[in-house]
Symmetry: D2
Subunit: 281 residues, 4 copies
């Protein structure tokens, strides 16, 4: 028996669950987890089913396709053991990177990390400690386009499923983001849509908010505006300075980003327009 993860999106119609259940029964499968949602604003139906089956991936795919094809869905079927491959990107601030690598190493994230890319060399020792290749890809105004081309080659060569911007301080081009929709996760160090742009903790301090937060979202062409995956918050007081907020924020950022990566790694996030549907465990 092997465990499979099926995800599916299509226009909402009656009979989809039945069709999926028929395919799974034909594959001698037993459902262990099942989630679905019909999104009112988009009319999108989406489903995630986790099931055990003695059949091969090809057979399972054939059974499911034969029942589900009538709904012309976007469908993904994979073995749970064939983990998603994530490329981490970082600049100099390392708390998110350190946290992700620690969690990955104790097997908390269900993901492969075949590569870390940075526009600086500072984090190389952290990465090498885990025997993960580290690629230094410096970015200047002049080299930006060439750097993205190199990045694209790395994505292909290492068969990357999604990119995690773990406090990567360069903006990826709209074209690059749009080529990997729903597959580039950014951590914004603010509770979006509150404080976009630079120095959000300084902005939060000056506005005198009593709660700060961090937001994991998909990168799109529109900076700080992609669909939100996960947000975390914490109470603060007047007594905390802007730099205290930065320190407090580190805890939220790394926790929120790690949750988003795990959700992505387990195929639990579906983009529906500007929003996400998240099938939490």
């Amino acid at each position: 028996m092997q465990r499979f993860i099926l995800t599916l999106r299509c226009g909402d119609r009656a009979g989809i669950v039945l069709a999926a259940a028929q395919g799974i029964v034909e594959a001698e499968g037993n459902i262990v987890e099942s989630d679905q949602f019909s999104d009112p604003p988009t009319g999108l139906f989406c489903m995630r089913i986790c099931f055990d089956s003695p059949r091969s991936l090809d057979e399972v795919r054939r059974f499911l396709d034969s029942h589900l094809a009538q709904f012309t869905p976007l469908i993904s079927i994979r073995l749970e053991s064939q983990r998603r491959r994530a490329l981490l990107m970082v600049s100099k601030i390392d708390h998110c990177l350190v946290d992700l690598l620690y969690r990955w190493n104790i097997d908390e994230l269900s993901v492969e990390i075949p590569l870390v890319v940075s526009n600086h060399v500072d984090c190389a020792p952290i990465v090498e400690r885990y025997d993960i290749p580290f690629v230094h890809l410096p970015v200047t105004a002049a080299s930006k386009a060439a750097a993205e081309t190199s990045l694209k080659e790395l994505v292909e060569r290492y068969r990357i499923d999604f990119i995690v911007l773990a406090r990567y301080m360069q903006v990826l081009s709209p074209a690059f983001c749009e080529a990997m929709p729903g597959n580039i996760i950014n951590i914004h160090h603010s509770f979006l849509p509150g404080f976009k742009g630079a120095r959000p903790y300084r902005q939060a301090y000056e506005r005198g908010v009593k709660v700060i937060g961090a937001t994991a979202h998909y990168a799109t062409g529109d900076l700080d505006e992609g669909p939100i995956i996960e947000q975390g918050v914490i109470q603060v007081t007047h007594a905390q300075s802007a730099s205290d907020l930065v320190a407090i924020g580190r805890d939220i950022e790394r926790t929120v980003l790690a949750r988003a990566v795990r959700l992505q790694a387990e195929d639990r996030v579906v983009v529906a327009g500007d929003r996400t549907i998240v099938f939490s465990s």
Copy 2:
């Protein structure tokens, strides 16, 4: 089209989802919400499906039974519009009662409240304001058994589905509780299993905890030990006295109890051994 709520419990086997989906398709139904869980310690499979169908309740029941009977499940099918009927019980402390009636009145709870019962008369004016019958059922050591008999009659006469102990300070007998398993909700003013018994906020103060809470749980024969439905917590400090904790606790108690009532009213809670499976919306 009418909306139906199906809940089902049985031993976990392959094919249950398919059978349910077949029954729903036969009833020309469209699934709008679906949750399921296989509980490892008990081997119990449980499912809650919300679907729209043009057929009558009897027809829908027949279609589902014909497909599902092979699994000998405990099954419940009802129209969402036929709301569960809750009996509220209260003593003198009224914040939970006031809150539940307010929420019920603005239609936040999806429940009928045909009756409020109290061992005191203090809350009568609050209840009468909403044109809900109020029954005064005093309880002494001598009258306790007779009072429970009266309560049983009220439960039958008013066709009560579940009882909510909204700070009702009398203990119901094990026999009474066991006659309505999973249908008597109590709010304990502590974060169980932390401080059982009397004066939990005083206990919490003396222990010097930094977080207090409240617990909505099913009443069983064993006081403060039934399956937990919902818990809420809040940070406190050394500066809060035991009576401050009581005041702070009121907010958690009423919120937690209201959430538990709404979950119960929407058939979202399943008891599995000493635990509950909660299909949150």
Copy 3:
């Protein structure tokens, strides 16, 4: 012995605490609670001291003035038993009003509520139940100026210390707000600065945020932009509709507003520029 509350603001200099302590000792006082803060961006020093003394208010004031006058502070000294007088304003949505009156009635708020004003009559029965005068003050474009004049007269006649906009849907004029700086509390049904303006829960839904909130802030001439007193938040998911968010938001709004009212009633909030310093209990 009576309990006094002293609050003080002035430019930050050495010796203020000593001077206050000397005044209190001269008044044979015993400090029971003391908070202070030096605000870096404004250079403001502020302090709140709660102490017991056998002397009269006039004597206590004289002792403190004699020691503190050298710092030319803004100073307030009062008996804790002489409670602040709050005017509540409401339109049709009543959950905040109902909640404040309930808390006031069980003595959770340390405040007097001599009057409730509304531009509608819907809430009159709720208010009259508590034997609090209810004034209907309708507002149209034409009558707005006259209504504010009437409101000013009510504030004077009832010796109001501060106004609570408990979901009052009319905007007070900048002139009115600026005449009572730091004494008009508004509850905004959003986690500011996230979603200003109308229908914030709809905005939050459309943006797909995973946390919603509410903000109690001082009303200034600039709508939704005054200093923030208190904020509360709660996690939400894709499955909650905009109207679900409204219902969930009610719980946060009433809790956050009640906390802000209690802080204000106990002289725990100091405005420093665009921010507040809050001396929590």
Copy 4:
């Protein structure tokens, strides 16, 4: 100008704040932060004042002593720059150790870590990376007493102010704990007093709680019963297995322990009977 931290405990009487303020003024000091609390159950008054002064530590101490001696307080005065020295102890589970060292290295904790001690060798590489001495002190039933003697020598040789049990799985003897009261911090992987003893997440799972937590507390002779410094909690559901709870718990444990260590390092925690008074920043 140098920054000083004064902490003081004594029986509650009038005039203590004045005396402290006089001493600070005599030392030409300017108060930057001040907290105090009178604990009703114990009658204890405690105070923490942070101030800047151009005088030497000896002079400052003399000025304060001359004014405060009449209250026979327990007093501590130190330069903020002379950081407390913490000894970390760990067994094999390393997430708390890794987190504390990371925070220490980016200067988040205001503490010196001159030594790490373990009953296993597994964590040695993590510690050596930071150039901190690592001492392997194996503990068996036979060697337990000798190991504690060695530990005591290390505490003296390295002039340790407090010990942090960062998932150290051996119980220190009551005699050892009582020799360093209020100076041994333990992290218990449960929301005390909920689940004492072994395998608390397994206990939490079996009880079906909906919130789990972790507790940083002082170690006393009585295991899992010392005064609580800090607690953190997180919502969980039926769907999380006992081992999921372990993973989720790691995040709370490391956060709660790091907060407790920072509070201790900044002299913000006072033990009052079985409770703590915590002067949060």
